[in-house]
């Protein structure tokens, strides 16, 4: 029987002594999921702006579709990406399957719906007056969009962090397209796959240590979110409405 206390003690010891195996796995997780978020931001934020700032037919449909995709089981997306990345698949010639690149791309795809969906809400919740006001104050179309984006900044950061949460905690994509590859070359084993594997081979101490660290990471991110929300609230109260545009206008004159 697994001895929970002894295994937990071992886990804590592994964390405190900075076990190199654990450090490697955790830093890979952070790197892969961090890169995935950056990738997703690159295409997700413009997409969110496109959807939020334009009125068109089928907008509700698209938003509903995005919300549905948020709940897509990661293992299903893992399967789809596996088929796309594998040798016979449409992107097989890139040789991406079971590489770090496949994980980053896969997770970026995974979190795009959540990033766009929260982003759209954030942008839509910005007072529409801001857009027209900044236009009347002499801003060009893109400047006006940037102004709206600035107002929605906290919501967008929130969407980025939520995306990171989703990415670093998921198992389906990272296992199916990453392959949990250990050894001396480019490794693709990350926190979640390593936990799964170590439970299977009864290395509970290592699994618990990784579990603790994953929860700590998620907790830290959620703390940042909470602090951001609070800080943003105070900033909103402190500044007079639309002061930024007036200032811009004054400097122009």
């Amino acid at each position: 029987m697994a001895d929970i206390l002894a295994d937990t003690a071992e886990a804590l010891q592994l964390i405190i002594t900075g076990d190199p195996e654990i450090l490697g796995i955790v830093s890979r997780s952070l790197l892969f999921s961090g890169t995935a978020v950056i990738l997703a931001i690159l295409w997700g934020t413009p997409l969110a702006m496109l959807i939020a700032m334009n009125e068109f037919r089928g907008k509700t449909l698209i938003k509903t579709f995005l919300n549905t995709l948020i709940g897509l089981p990661t293992v299903v997306l893992g399967l789809i990406l596996f088929l796309i990345f594998s040798k016979g698949g449409p992107l097989g010639f890139l040789g991406l399957l079971y590489t770090p690149a496949a994980i980053m791309l896969g997770q970026a795809v995974l979190i795009t719906p959540i990033l766009v969906s929260i982003g759209v809400s954030a942008i839509e919740s910005v007072d529409p007056e801001i857009m027209s006001l900044s236009r009347t104050l002499g801003a060009s179309e893109s400047q006006a969009q940037v102004a709206v984006l600035k107002e929605a900044a906290s919501g967008i950061v929130l969407s980025d962090l939520a995306s990171f949460n989703r990415a670093i905690g998921e198992l389906g994509v990272v296992l199916l397209v990453g392959g949990n590859i250990g050894g001396g070359g480019n490794r693709t084993d990350v926190i979640t796959t390593a936990i799964s594997r170590n439970v299977q081979i009864s290395e509970f101490g290592l699994a618990i240590a990784l579990g603790i660290l994953l929860v700590l990471i998620l907790f830290t991110i959620n703390m940042i979110v909470a602090v951001l929300r609070k800080a943003n609230y105070i900033v909103e109260l402190a500044k007079p409405p639309f002061s930024r545009f007036k200032r811009n206008r004054e400097t122009k004159q």
Partner: protein, 336 residues
Amino acid sequence: MQAWQKLLLVAALATIIVVAGTLVYFNYFSKRRLFISTTTSLYDTGLLDVIEADYEATHNVDLQITAVGTGVAIQQAQNGDADIVLVHSPSVEKTFLEGGYGVNRKIIAYNFFTIVGPADDPAQIYGKTAAEALFNIVQYGENMPDQSGATQIWVSRGDNSGTNSKEKSLWTAAGYNYTELSDEVWFASTGQGMGATLTVADQKGAYTLSDIGTYLKYYSDGNIDLVSLILEEQALLNVYSVMAVSPDVSANQSLHENINFEDAMNFIEYLISDSTQELITNYGKDTYGQSLFTGAVQQLIADEPQPLMRWVQDYAFFDGSECPPQYRNGYEDLYS
């Protein structure tokens, strides 16, 4: 229809589905359960599916099979999570018997391991012995142009499975240290089953050690392009055994109240019966052109064919027996 009526309808439907599902579930589990922890090869080849269907058709027992690899199967059995283990690592089995966890071991089948790799065989191991092949693979790995870690030419199971322990002993026999090798840039491990590992090796164009059964299944099904590159030899023998978990092992309460020893022994008797042995030997013959496994029971009794049976005894017998008397618990007729 009004909104509340629709809501009521949906709720009623949902309730019916849940209740029906629960009833089906409980009906299904009203059979006695036999927990089997098995090496992945028996499962990935589909052999256990056939055996399960055959056995359950004639017995009021529900086989609960988890395919985990030998190391984990043994671990699960020691934890009281299994009633019976199907494994293929004699040294691990011996420790398991000595620890008093397992009893009544029977050798049920054998086949061979082989090293599979890409058809163009960059390390030139075709027709070599296992030791020569491994040497060539190391040489190739150390001298290939890409040393960045992006190209990996050997994929190990890395999961303490029977195949993994065979791999370790083959590396040792070839003069290498497995632990040191696993830090080389060309060396990858999956921590997963045989099927997943074959898929990784195939996608990476790398070599791996596989039991011939799982390999043939994946190759014939068109899942992988890897080819089997080396010949059968004594060092590559792969022997599958079954052991009942000793009824003295305390069962894990989360799974079952007691080790189901009686059904376990019944299942062992079923496995070594002539008809099941024939089923094992013939499994996949039509589909894959050759047997994936060979039933060992009658061959061991007849001591034919040679030198194969001598190899099996050298490799998988303990003190001249597949199960020395001190590791038996009744059922002496199994060994007469």
